[in-house]
């Protein structure tokens, strides 16, 4: 059996020890998979990915990136090991130019490869290539998300995690973001996507995982989940208890 790109084992995490938000999640993503994490507000989706990225205290459990244990690694070391994270908000440096945002992220690459990698990213995001000297704070919402994704891709991560990349974007721009994520995944990058935009996210994902109250409650192929009444019920806050994991 091949080693997953990323996995968690009984992960418990949160901002206060007595009040864990993620409560014992076992979760794994295969190499090259695009997995969407869904769930109602307060389910622990963002806390889960922040804990994986090293931004939230982990109280117990383990996180593995490939076969390496990265549970206690600080956020900046996880990037060096191939894990890139795009937060929902404040995901670019607004006082730096577009090019400086990419340069800052490229610092961890070998000097001789930085320029080439930035050129590759500009080729992937021509909208950014057109305005390298613009302060990032002056970009539109969609351009900011593209810069945040480009910034994360600079290090050629093995796993890219995004927390609600379509939040606050118009439907057209959000569709562009999803299209871009799909094409990035098709290059072999494993993607974990937290989204409230269930339909659009499931449309590009291979698999969906549903969290409720900090626990994994349901998962399945994206195409199946898209037509699953349980998904709708969970989002509509129905009272019927969801089935056990793996149902």
């Amino acid at each position: 059996m091949s080693v997953p790109a990323l996995s968690t084992d009984a992960l418990v995490a949160g901002y206060e020890r007595d009040l864990p938000i993620v409560r014992g999640i076992d979760f794994s993503v295969g190499i090259g998979e695009l997995v969407v994490v869904l769930g109602p507000n307060g389910a622990g989706k963002s806390t889960l990915v922040k804990a994986i990225a090293g931004l939230v205290t982990i109280h117990s459990g383990a996180i593995r990136l490939g076969d390496r244990d990265i549970t206690s690694a600080p956020a900046h070391e996880k990037v060096h090991q191939g894990l890139a994270f795009v937060p929902q908000t404040e995901n670019i440096f607004t006082t730096l130019t577009v090019h400086e945002n990419l340069l800052v992220a490229a610092n961890i690459l070998a000097k001789e490869t930085r320029s080439r990698r930035i050129s590759e990213l500009y080729a992937l995001f021509p909208d950014l290539a057109a305005r390298p000297s613009l302060k990032a704070g002056q970009l539109s919402g969609g351009q900011r998300q593209m810069l945040a994704v480009a910034r994360a891709l600079i290090v050629a991560p093995s796993v890219l995690i995004l927390d609600e990349p379509s939040a606050g974007l118009s439907p057209k721009v959000a569709a562009d973001v999803f299209r871009t994520l799909k094409s990035i995944n098709e290059t072999g990058v494993t993607i974990i996507l937290v989204e409230q935009n269930v339909k659009a996210a499931l449309a590009i994902a291979h698999r969906g995982v549903i969290l409720v109250d900090g626990k994994r409650r349901h998962e399945g192929p994206a195409a199946t989940l898209a037509g699953d009444p349980i998904v709708a019920e969970l989002y509509l806050g129905a009272h019927r208890a969801p089935p056990a994991v793996g149902a």
């Binding site: 600080p74 060096h80 440096f93 340069l103 610092n107 910034r151 290090v155």
Partner: protein
Amino acid sequence: MIAQAIMDGLIAGAMIGLGAIGITLTYSILRFANFAHGELLSWGAYIALALSDGLGYLSASLMLPVGPFSFGWSLPLAAILAVALTGTLALLADALLFGRLRAKGGTIIIMVMASFGAALTLRSLLEFLFSTKPAYYSKALQIALPLGGEMRATPDQLLTLGLAAVLVIAIHLLLTRSATGRSMRAVSENQQLAGIVGIDVRRIIRIVWLLGAGLACVAGIMAGLVVQIRPHMGHDLLLPLFAAAILGGIGSVPGAMLAGLIVGLSEAIAVQVIGAEWRAAVAFVILVAVLLTRPQGLLGRAA
């Protein structure tokens, strides 16, 4: 008289500006007003004095004045070592006090109060080690050179102005053109995001302490060279330093230097126009006026 006041103001402003750069860097990255920064000026000046005297003891020729200046080679050599040692002192203060408070989630007010305590401790230690008697790098008298337009300045004073200009340009280039500088600006804007783009935030904090303390040391040596060395010299400069850091705009190196010159000039002109007893009030008036009318400062970004 006014022409000479302008020259005196520029010289004082250069020292204030260098000190303010350290304050603005530490404030923008560590997010608290470090009231112990003035003590780094004093410690820098005294460390350079002790090392310079020590070098002079080893070789008297090092104390012989270099060219038109009042000091020998012992002072520039001592200054290089003093910059490193003052930086080490700042790192020590961070490791023993500020870093521990940060790790425990210390609020801004706790950090500020801790910096008051650190300032008091460092100042008292200087008084204990060196006494409160003024000290000098050199007892040699210097004749002020005419610069035209009733302006005069000693070679030492002109050197401090030139050195301040070189250092400001160097720091500005470091922040805008180097990878470390970009990382410092990134950490200044968003520490959490800086971490997830792969920047070692703790390393950047150490660099900021070293840089801020190094500049404070240079400013202290300049003040010691053109005025005198006293344990309270940094403490007395604290209000002008903060006025300059805030007037320039927190985080802006050119802003801090420009504002340092403005504060220095304002103080010097106030002495001529309304009397020396009002000198100290000038920085306070500037500070309050900026906070009321343009809190982001001259070159800072609006919140």
